[in-house]
């Protein structure tokens, strides 16, 4: 085996299912955690199934460590048992009639390891994921967080070359989520191969991944580091996901005329041509009457359409030119008597506005 390509996923995935078409290239290096982020129906799970071999490609190829797993043009297709791709399914899919230990021993057993050694290895994996004491239980006796770790142990016990996680935290309640999220990051750090993590939760992607690939309608709309994606989304979907106001327009000399009306002053005066402008909801200030001129160079009127609690804040949806999402604290809502239909003024500093060329 060529050591230079070890632990490398290289795939051009084309899958057609009725009117839906998935068509994208994906690469991931050793130890890299790539989050595939997208709405329901974007093709995330289809991509995962294609890589696992549960769904044959219509075109393209999947190569792992330089080995071709699927290539319809060349007539190559390895079924899941021959792929060494570990999968943690969204609903975990632990075998209900087997003890936890035997669930995890299943992978080594399938590779021809004798029962005693397989169980020994399984116990080690469970210990490593801090669920060693659950070995004798049945899956039905586990909490969501425990089942998640057992499922991960079971996948890792096959010593996979590629690890696929389908919405790993979706089945957990909010409180368990936070804990498991931290642990998951830690456990994934110990895995040498590439990890693909499918999720529709931007926070999960931002916290767990080294790189994010945003998917819409079977295509990649954006790729980059979590920071890039959060700060500079390129589509409305990604912007909504990461909770950022996104505007498209034309920049000249530090001023952007927005396509949908209104204008925004930006710090970068050298930027010209078609640009995207991203403004974080927390970077916008709300006034109940027109304020005196201040240092904020962007000031415009609007009307509150909706208020919704978001964690420890209240997110206002304000219509205007442009419309914006604005995050305020609950005391501020009370103090300013912010309510639906209320006319307000919005302000943000040019330095808080991030503008970048529109590459679409």
């Amino acid at each position: 085996m060529n050591p230079q390509v070890a632990g490398e996923l290289d795939a051009a995935v084309e899958v057609e299912r009725g009117s839906f078409r998935l068509d994208l290239d994906v690469q991931a290096g050793p130890g890299e955690i790539l989050a595939v982020l997208g709405p329901n129906g974007a093709g995330k799970t289809t991509l995962l199934r294609a890589l696992a071999g549960l769904l044959p490609l219509s075109g393209g190829y999947v190569r792992l460590d330089g080995t071709v797993l699927d290539d319809p043009a060349a007539g190559v297709y390895l079924d899941p048992p021959r792929r060494r791709v570990g999968v943690v399914f969204q609903d975990y899919r632990l075998f209900p009639r087997m003890r936890v230990l035997d669930n995890v021993a299943c992978g080594p057993r399938s590779r021809g390891v004798d029962r005693a050694s397989a169980r020994h290895a399984a116990q080690q994996w469970l210990d490593r994921l801090d669920v060693g004491e659950l070995a004798r239980r049945r899956p039905g006796q586990l909490s969501g967080g425990q089942a998640q770790r057992v499922a991960l142990a079971r996948a890792l016990a096959t010593e996979p070359r590629l690890l696929l996680l389908d919405e790993p935290l979706a089945a957990l309640d909010a409180r368990t989520r936070a804990t498991v999220q931290g642990e998951l990051r830690e456990h994934l750090a110990g895995f040498a191969g590439p990890t693909l993590l499918v999720t529709h939760d931007p926070l999960e992607a931002l916290l767990l991944a080294d790189r994010i690939m945003a998917l819409e309608a079977g295509r990649i709309v954006q790729q980059g580091s979590p920071h890039d994606i959060a700060a500079r989304p390129v589509t409305d979907y990604v912007a909504t996901l990461v909770g950022v106001n996104l505007y498209a327009g034309v920049a000249t000399g530090g001023r952007v005329e927005l396509d949908d009306g209104g204008a925004i002053m930006i710090g970068d005066t050298a930027l010209a041509g078609r640009v995207l402008v991203a403004v974080r909801p927390s970077a916008i200030t709300v006034y109940t009457s027109r304020p005196d001129p201040g240092s904020a160079r962007n000031l415009w009127p609007g009307r509150i359409d909706a208020l919704a609690p978001l964690g420890d804040r209240i997110r206002l949806s304000v219509s205007g030119s442009p419309g914006a999402l604005v995050d305020v604290t609950a005391p501020a809502v009370a103090e300013l008597s912010l309510a639906r239909g209320r006319d307000v003024w919005l302000a943000t500093k040019a330095t808080e506005v991030d503008a970048y060329p529109d590459g679409r």
Binding site: D79, G86, V87, F89, S110, T158
Partner: protein
Amino acid sequence: MSRRRTGAGVPALLVPPAAVGAVFLLLPTIALLVRMPWSGLRDLYADSRVSSALTLSLQSATAATAASLLFGVPLAWMLARLRIRGLGLIRAAVTMPLVLPPVVGGVALFLALGRFGVVGRYLDQWFGFTLPFTKYGLVVAETFVAMPFLVITAEGAFRAADRGLEEAAATLGASRLTVFWRITLPGIGPSLVAGTVLCWARALGEFGATITFNGSLPGHTEVMPTLISLALETNPEQAEALSLVLIGIALVILTALREQWLRPAVSS
């Protein structure tokens, strides 16, 4: 407490026919127990013809059930999982014995496997072996009639089985056979048990195809149902006593299965 007042109560009009139905189904069994010559049972059972018929019944029904499991479960899996043209036709054909009068089934078996049958003639020519009027013929006739019960029960269960678990096992490296053996089959366990017992009970009680295909030679191909039928003409008391044995077996089966085992089979 207030069960009477809930909306899901029984409409009064349904009660009389339901009661008639229940009585009708129970009456024959009750009559049999009432008329049973309890004092002379021991003598009636002591007959060596009875014990050999009972032994042969249990043996052939068990062998027929084993054959049904061996061939019927894979068949059920194919019917449930394969996506090929004409599968519906095959399904209809294999469940044919369910609706076919057993006597007709016996005649059909004769034409297929009898000494001059489509296949049977070669068994005779090449191996000097004839199936009808032998123990093996018994097993064949009972399997023919009973296997569809197992097939339809298992097929329904295979359809309803969780495919996600099979996929998970495949990603863990399990071969298709391992997945079938370790995941799919245990997954349909309750239905399989119910189907197997129904199949065995059907084989044990099989009369029409059995007597048509094998006759009823004492000590040879005479089983409980054929013995009872013949005894009814010559020794009615013995027929009644022998019926008691089969009722006893039926009761044991029903008790053993109870609802938890029987229900999935019925609902799927």
